[in-house]
């Protein structure tokens, strides 16, 4: 690899990806609330409006349903919109266009059109923004055939997967954990893509497979470092894409370690961990399991405002460590 690699924040990596996409393809443009002079609620678009102008960095009114629909309409007719939701929670206002239109249009029209729209969703808790600004709704969209749903966990992946999303002919939903925006990591200059639908083994291990998403990848890696000192060797898989899911990587890992734990921030019940667990139970890896599968996920509650309660509603590193210990020791 000859491209220069620098340290960029996750937000900067996304911004760079959007700039590259706009440089490479005139059809690419950005839409969202306060993404122009304000720079986006999380400063992801930053000063892109100064470089690309208000024609390509479009501030919408506060109209999520309409805005998402306009992006879908533009995508169907030849443009390549990247639509930013100010918070992923506001996807709920745009569900109609995402679920009934973007996801199904190609299918309903017998393949006559495609919908190359990219939507970005700042997600997750940890900022004290309370119940309507802290949700993790990726599984909602992951349930809809026709959509692709990704959750990059590092600056490198944030850039490469966004560029893959723009190049993808189908609607791609990107969930970005807000607490990751400031996280730094190595990012090569220039164009590259990270494939959608491919998990990444972040850490190899023999005793236990942890399948994690988004910010939980980092928590799982932290936990793995502690567990290593205790002689527990953890394999950490960053799922990266929740639809279409990379089943084989998980199956192969479980066949090797014989133990599975799933960790995500979204509410545990009916979540991605449930899907991964069921997928393993249905697969040839089932026979290799030495212990029941363990899932860690968000508590069965909206996200509270109080900071201590807020922390308690999502899995933390100590929770992963103790669950891993129990799992390896066979404690139920």
């Amino acid at each position: 690899m000859d491209a220069m690699v620098r340290e960029l924040s996750y937000a900067q990596a996304i911004q760079e990806a959007m700039a590259i996409a706009m440089d490479m393809d005139e059809r690419v443009f950005l839409m969202g609330e306060d993404i122009g002079v304000y720079g986006g609620a999380f400063q992801v678009t930053g000063d892109l409006v100064e470089r690309y102008g208000t024609e390509r960095v479009i501030d919408t009114p506060i109209s999520e349903l309409g805005g998402a629909g306009v992006a879908v309409g533009a995508a169907v007719t030849g443009m390549r919109p990247i639509f930013e939701f100010q918070f992923s929670d506001f996807a709920t206002l745009a569900m109609e266009q995402i679920v009934n239109q973007a996801a199904k249009m190609r299918f309903m029209l017998g393949g006559e059109v495609s919908v190359p729209v990219v939507m970005r969703f700042p997600a997750g808790s940890g900022t004290g923004a309370a119940a309507q600004h802290s949700q993790s709704l990726e599984a909602w969209l992951g349930h809809v055939p026709g959509l692709k749903v990704i959750q990059p966990a590092t600056p490198y992946d944030a850039k490469g997967m966004l560029l893959a999303a723009v190049a993808d002919p189908d609607p791609v939903m990107i969930f970005e954990h807000k607490l990751l925006y400031k996280m730094k990591g190595p990012v090569p200059e220039g164009y590259y893509t990270v494939p959608i639908g491919k998990a990444d083994i972040r850490r190899e291990g023999r005793d236990l497979t942890i399948v994690a998403t988004s910010i939980m990848v980092h928590k799982a890696l932290d936990a793995a470092a502690t567990l290593e000192a205790e002689g527990i060797d953890v394999e950490v898989i960053d799922l990266r894409t929740i639809r279409p899911m990379d089943k084989q990587s998980v199956i192969d890992s479980v066949k090797k370690t014989s133990r599975l734990m799933c960790v995500h921030e979204a509410v545990k019940t009916l979540g991605i961990g449930a899907e991964v667990s069921a997928m393993i139970a249905e697969s040839e890896a089932f026979d290799y399991l030495d212990a029941p599968i363990v899932r860690l996920g968000g508590a069965e509650t909206p996200i509270p405002y109080n900071p201590e309660l807020e922390k308690a509603t999502v899995p933390q590193v100590p929770d992963i460590i103790s669950a891993a210990r129990d799992l390896v020791k066979g404690v139920r």
Binding site: G39, T301, Y305, E308
Partner: protein, 342 residues
């Protein structure tokens, strides 16, 4: 704050509406509350800077006359739905600042027991059905509350506060239409402070005035100077009478300005310093009201001083109360998700 005294002295006959309608005591109480809103928000802001409050908050400093004017003709049983910029509405509808501070500090004595924070501040007992984290989210809820009022014949009037930005959400349009079709006792109050976050109404909204939208839903659309308490209160008074007598909804556009940034992370790059300065020094709603009260002989400097120090004391006590209150226990994280606890 209801109870319009009908005993109007002749000497007041030429004065603006509120000075004819309300007693000196009531009007002084309004000034007290306008100060209470301002100092509450300054206190919250300072506590935030000192790290005592987490999350974010949206301050309504500069919009106090709007909150107070709209709530003036409402009775305790009447209801409101509020917004992310809802501290003023909450106080105007009768909330105690100590329990608001407690909420901001995440304490069990707070109005939402530490679960909601600034963006979800509410006081259901006093008729505030809650601020809202979702722009436009409260508008249909107010229509629903008005439907309850009509069906249950409670006589309640419901006010829905929202911002100029919210008028571009579908919920606004759907809600106004239903309210008009069903002639519900609801008042839509758009506090137009010129911007939805960084986007000016000129860049977001196809009509010049939000009140112009009323025509599409066959209801009166009234524009008031939201920084003049008397103007706001008069428009609200008429809308409340109309709603109470079964004639249906009104859309009031209260033109105002927020002195502070949108939230705690705003660099104010979408407006000029001069514009902010102009509103702060020439159209401050508290100064305007104070001047009128003084000019019309309702209060003197001593009276104003008494109000200011009374407010300062109430704020200081409120912060102490909040600090001394207990935090919820993490074992109670699952509380209040359902009515019957599992």
């Amino acid at each position: 704050m209801a109870g319009a005294g009908k005993a109007v002295a002749d000497s007041r006959a030429n004065l603006p509406f509120v000075y004819r309608q309300y007693s000196a005591e009531q009007l002084k109480q309004v000034l007290y509350k306008m100060y209470l809103i301002r100092r509450f928000e300054e206190g919250a802001e300072e506590s935030y800077m000192r790290g005592l409050i987490h999350g974010t908050m949206h301050l309504s400093i500069g919009q106090e006359a709007s909150a107070m004017g709209i709530c003036m003709p409402l009775g305790e049983d009447d209801q409101i739905t509020s917004t992310h910029r809802g501290h003023g509405h909450c106080i105007a509808k009768g909330a105690e600042v100590k329990r608001m501070f407690a909420e901001f500090f995440g304490k069990t004595t707070g109005y939402c027991k530490g679960r909601g924070g600034s963006m979800h501040i509410a006081d259901v007992a006093k008729g505030n059905l809650g601020a809202n984290g979702i722009v436009g989210g409260g508008i249909p809820i107010a229509v629903g509350a008005a439907l309850s009022s009509k069906m249950m014949k409670t006589g309640k009037v419901v006010v829905s506060f929202f911002g100029d930005g919210a008028n571009n959400e579908g919920a606004f349009h759907e809600a106004l239409n239903m309210a008009a079709v069903w002639k519900l006792p609801v008042i839509f109050v758009c506090e137009n402070n010129g911007y939805g976050m960084s986007t000016s109404t000129a860049r977001s909204t196809a009509v010049k005035n939000i009140a112009d939208r009323a025509a599409a839903y066959s209801m009166p659309g009234v524009i008031v100077n939201g920084n003049i308490f008397s103007e706001v209160a008069e428009a609200s008074y008429k809308a409340v009478e109309r709603a109470r007598s079964g004639e249906g909804p009104t859309l009031i556009e209260s033109k105002t300005y927020r002195h502070r940034g949108h939230s705690k992370s705003d660099r104010n790059r979408y407006r000029t310093k001069e514009e902010i300065e102009d509103w702060m020094s020439n159209r401050d709603p508290i100064t305007l009201f104070e001047n009128e009260l003084r000019e019309f002989g309702f209060i003197d400097d001593k009276g104003i001083e008494a109000i200011r120090s009374g407010v300062a004391q109430e704020i200081a006590d409120g912060i102490e109360f909040a600090k001394a209150s207990p935090s919820p226990d993490v074992s109670e994280t699952g509380n209040y998700v359902y009515t019957e606890q599992a």
